[in-house]
């Protein structure tokens, strides 16, 4: 049948790539046994295109310095445990190490080995290895890789790898001197579709082209620049949202306590810090007693941090803050004093140095979305912020505690007259706000140093968010946090991190002049704050 005949032909072409290379795999292996560097180098090149199934293993061994030769010219590969296998068959071989000599390499051989590995990996059974290899070939822009690329393309089934191979092929075509204009134009359009900084530099390196090709390259560069700019804007937005979600986590608790009680809690940052230390303790105890569930340490730390920080918050409200209602400025001073005490207490217990909190495996790494690199830990923090916010809103909206809290916020005396025990609500609200701060601490332990000063670095930013968004309004806090985060990240490349922050602070000071109650002020009949 013609179809199977074609298949056989294809395999034949792949196995015996024609008369270009006279040497076969056997001759290449024989060359490795000679002391001649040129012969070894030719052998590597021949082996890389021979299609021999052991080629990758043998060349990798050569690359790692694990390929040995016996005086009778038989090749062996040394395993990691010191045993040897026959290089050509892979069978275990019992040979004394003293009888073997390593196959020698020099720079020329090393270059050939690297190039050969790059090409051979294009045929690896593992798709991700093929993808990495294709990317490496793309970056090398080596016209010599064209035949191998052609073969790899014909064989490739994975669409991602295929795209990457086409791009590598295009890059090789563009750097080759004897390809047709039609091929080049096609290659330029592939580069344009890829549209990243590598593609731009490949196109930027083109010189001495025919007018048609040069014009196509120029227009492709413009298009790539435009799309790169778009991606960089998107990247700033992403970083801004990421920073905003951190600010939101830190400020949400503050917004609740300030909204319900009119109390600025300067020790709020210390609740965040305590949450981070709870994470540290949870990880330490899990490592000591239950190492099997270590990867779940963060999900366990979240409720723990909420409970610990929440209980401390209730204790603070019952012992300190309830004596100071109606005196917001004195509350501010007392809670500041409390924050000093808490910081020093943590410093005395855990020491002033940073503590290591591990990032679980499932949170490390990154994913690629177009021209964006999204790191997992940032993604999880954004998700976590959304979940916390939704849970808080639901708690305020649908639970009876939430109903009471809203009643007290709107009209404390009326709520008391309706039988709500306002002091009790105050304590629970303070506990809730502190608990949320503790959960923020779990998230911050993943991206910041866990030290006694952790809370201090966020407290001023959190205030800014609350004041900007409008007090007692979670939506205001959300919008405030995201706006501040995004503005910060957009200013950073223009003005630098520190100057950007100063600009934001000055803008906020001016903004408060226009809207003294923030963006979304709570409607009420209060004459003055």
């Amino acid at each position: 049948m013609p179809r199977s005949l074609a298949l056989i032909l294809l395999v034949a072409v792949w196995l015996f790539p024609g008369p270009g290379r006279a040497e076969t795999a056997e001759e290449a292996y024989a060359a490795f046994a000679t002391p001649n560097f040129d012969a070894i180098r030719d052998g590597v090149m021949a082996l890389s295109v021979s299609g021999d199934p052991r080629a990758l293993i043998v060349i990798t061994a050569l690359h790692d310095g694990r390929l040995y030769v016996r005086p009778d010219k038989v090749l062996f590969i040394k395993n990691d445990d010191g045993t040897f296998v026959d290089a050509l068959t892979g069978a275990a071989a019992d040979v004394p190490a003293g009888a073997l000599k390593p196959v020698r390499v020099n720079n020329g051989v090393r270059e050939a080995v690297n190039a050969a590995l790059g090409v051979l990996r294009l045929f690896s059974p593992d798709a991700s290895t093929r993808l990495t290899a294709a990317e490496a070939v793309f970056r090398a822009r080596d016209p010599a890789a064209l035949p191998a690329l052609d073969r790899a393309l014909a064989k490739e089934t994975d669409p991602d790898v295929k795209t990457r191979l086409e791009q590598a092929h295009a890059a090789a075509v563009l750097s080759s001197s004897d390809t047709s204009d039609a091929d080049r134009l096609n290659a330029i359009s592939i580069m344009r579709a890829r549209g990243d900084i590598e593609a731009r530099s490949t196109l930027g390196n083109l010189t001495g082209q025919t007018p048609a090709v040069a014009a196509a390259a120029a227009s492709a560069i413009t298009a790539i620049d435009r799309s790169l700019q778009l991606w960089s804007v998107l990247e700033s937005v992403y970083y801004g949202i990421s920073l905003g979600s951190v600010l939101l986590l830190a400020a949400a608790g503050l917004a609740i306590t300030f909204g319900v009680m009119g109390v600025i809690n300067m020790a709020h940052g210390e609740m965040v810090m305590i949450g981070a230390y709870v994470t540290f303790m949870v990880q330490q105890s899990i490592r000591a007693y239950l190492p099997s569930i270590y990867s779940a340490s963060l999900p366990i730390a979240i409720p723990m941090a909420f409970i610990v920080a929440g209980l401390i918050g209730i204790a603070i409200e019952r012992t300190l803050i309830r004596w100071l209602y109606g005196r917001p400025l004195e509350t501010l001073l007392a809670t500041w004093g409390l924050s000093l005490v808490l910081q020093q207490a943590v410093r005395s217990i855990f020491g002033a140095a940073n503590r290591d909190v591990d990032t679980p495996d499932w949170m490390s790494g990154a994913t690629q979305l177009g021209g964006l690199t999204l790191t997992w830990n940032r993604m999880y923090i954004i998700l976590f912020a959304i979940v916390v916010l939704a849970a808080l809103m639901a708690a305020l909206r649908f639970t009876s505690l939430g109903l009471r809290m809203r009643a007290v916020t709107q009209n404390r005396r009326m709520a008391a007259a309706m039988g709500i025990r306002t002091p009790w609500i105050d304590a629970l609200t303070f506990g809730l706000g502190s608990g949320v701060a503790g959960m923020a601490g779990v998230a911050l332990s993943q991206i910041d140093n866990v030290s006694p000063n952790l809370g201090q670095s966020y407290i001023i930013d959190s205030f800014m968010v609350v004041v900007f968004g409008g007090v007692g309004n979670l939506w205001g806090t959300t919008v405030g946090a995201l706006t501040l985060g995004i503005i910060n990240k957009f200013l950073e490349p223009v003005a630098g991190a520190v100057l950007g922050k100063i600009v934001v602070l000055v803008m906020l000071i001016l903004f408060i002049q226009r809207r003294p109650r923030g963006m979304f002020p709570l409607k009420g009949r209060a004459v003055e704050a």
Partner: protein, 371 residues
């Protein structure tokens, strides 16, 4: 409300004490039992400057009802103005021996003196800037804030944001104020060696004089008709407004006056400690200044001076004897004073003729309901 007798006593004690210390330092032999070592002179001089900052805080907090969490910014700005003068006096005695540029600018590879450094080699100009820079910043900030009726906690947070922004700004090398290290390594002030005992004694007496002067000005202001209205604004701003006064004007005047007093305090502070760096802007410093006033007794002026001296002596003793416990002690001071001693030490002694500012009754009325 601040009696003649207590005021006279304060002035006699501050000025007399400073002169006595200076004389004991200058005219007794070092081996003598009554000799005052140089470090005590510098330390007390530093406390008197802090007392000026406390006085400035009391003026706006005790009488204007504005809790400032960024007053150290004005103190530090005055200090930087003086520091710039002192830097220019170094001349060719710096490490690089450059007559035109301070060492840190040579180190950063700068060629010319930035425009805002010109004139600071001339003392009267520097002295003017000590008053003008904090004064103008306070004027602009206060005008914007009071006009749009930003009050209470919001205003406190804004003052904190102000000093935080300045802290970040002064840390930058590009600002031209020495970045992280600030301004230091001073040699002379008005031709006198800043290291010499006689100069230090002189600065101590000068600080005492300025402190007493500031105290008298503040006392005059709060006892005048202006001060009565200011207190009315503090207690019920809206009612005062309905009576036809403009609370923002009264607050602005006392705010700028307070900033100027703080700035002068900073200017006297720098030659005595020999350095000014961005750390002075840190929000924690400003909040500490507030606690001095709270400890002494808010709204008494005398209490502010007393509180600054008590807390700072305590800090010096604690940080050398029990450094681990200092933050516990300071935190406990904050909590204890606000909870148990709302009228401070002055309220405790209940000195005859001194009636501390009474905090509005701690009830949550409709008017003061949380925002």
């Amino acid at each position: 409300m601040i009696s003649q007798r207590v005021s006279t006593l304060t002035i006699v004690l501050v000025l007399g004490g400073a002169i006595l210390l200076a004389l004991l330092n200058q005219f007794t032999p070092e081996a003598s039992a009554v000799h005052v070592p140089a470090y005590v002179i510098a330390l007390v001089g530093k406390y008197l400057c802090f007392a000026m900052l406390a006085l400035a805080v009391d003026l706006v907090w005790g009488f204007g009802g504005i809790l400032p969490l960024g007053h150290a910014a004005f103190f530090a700005l005055g200090g930087y103005a003086m520091g710039m003068y002192l830097m220019r006096q170094i001349g060719t005695r710096g490490v690089y021996g450059n007559a035109e540029l301070p060492d840190f600018m040579v180190f950063l590879g700068w060629k010319d003196l930035p425009w805002y450094w010109h004139g600071f080699e001339w003392f009267p100009f520097a002295a003017l800037m000590v008053v003008l820079v904090p004064g103008i910043l306070a004027l602009v900030f206060g005008y914007l804030a009071f006009r749009s009726r930003v009050t209470g906690v919001y205003l406190s947070i804004m003052t904190q944001a102000l000093t935080y922004a300045l802290l970040l700004a002064f840390f930058r090398n590009d600002m031209g104020f020495g970045g992280n290290n600030g301004l230091t390594d001073f040699k002379d002030v008005l031709g006198f060696n800043v290291q010499a005992d006689s100069t230090r004694s002189g600065l101590l007496v000068l600080s005492a004089l300025f402190l007493c002067g500031a105290f008298l000005v503040a006392r005059f202001v709060v006892l005048s008709r202006f001060g009565k209205i200011l207190i009315a604004v503090r207690d019920t701003e809206s009612r005062t407004r309905f009576l036809g006064y403009r609370p923002e004007s009264y607050k602005l005047v006392v705010w700028v006056l307070s900033a100027v007093i703080a700035g002068i305090g900073g200017a006297l502070y720098v030659p005595q400690v020999g350095i000014i760096n961005p750390g002075e802007f840190s929000p924690a410093n400003s909040i500490e200044a507030v606690i001095w006033v709270a400890v002494g007794g808010r709204g008494t002026l005398v209490g502010a001076i007393l509180g600054a001296l008590i807390v700072n002596f305590g800090k010096t003793w604690f940080t050398s004897a029990l450094p681990e416990l200092w933050l516990f002690a300071l935190g406990a001071l904050f909590i204890g004073v606000t909870l148990l001693l709302p009228q401070g030490v002055m309220g405790l002694f209940a000195l005859r003729g001194v009636k501390p500012a009474v905090t509005p009754a701690p009830t949550i009325s409709e008017e003061e309901a949380p925002v």
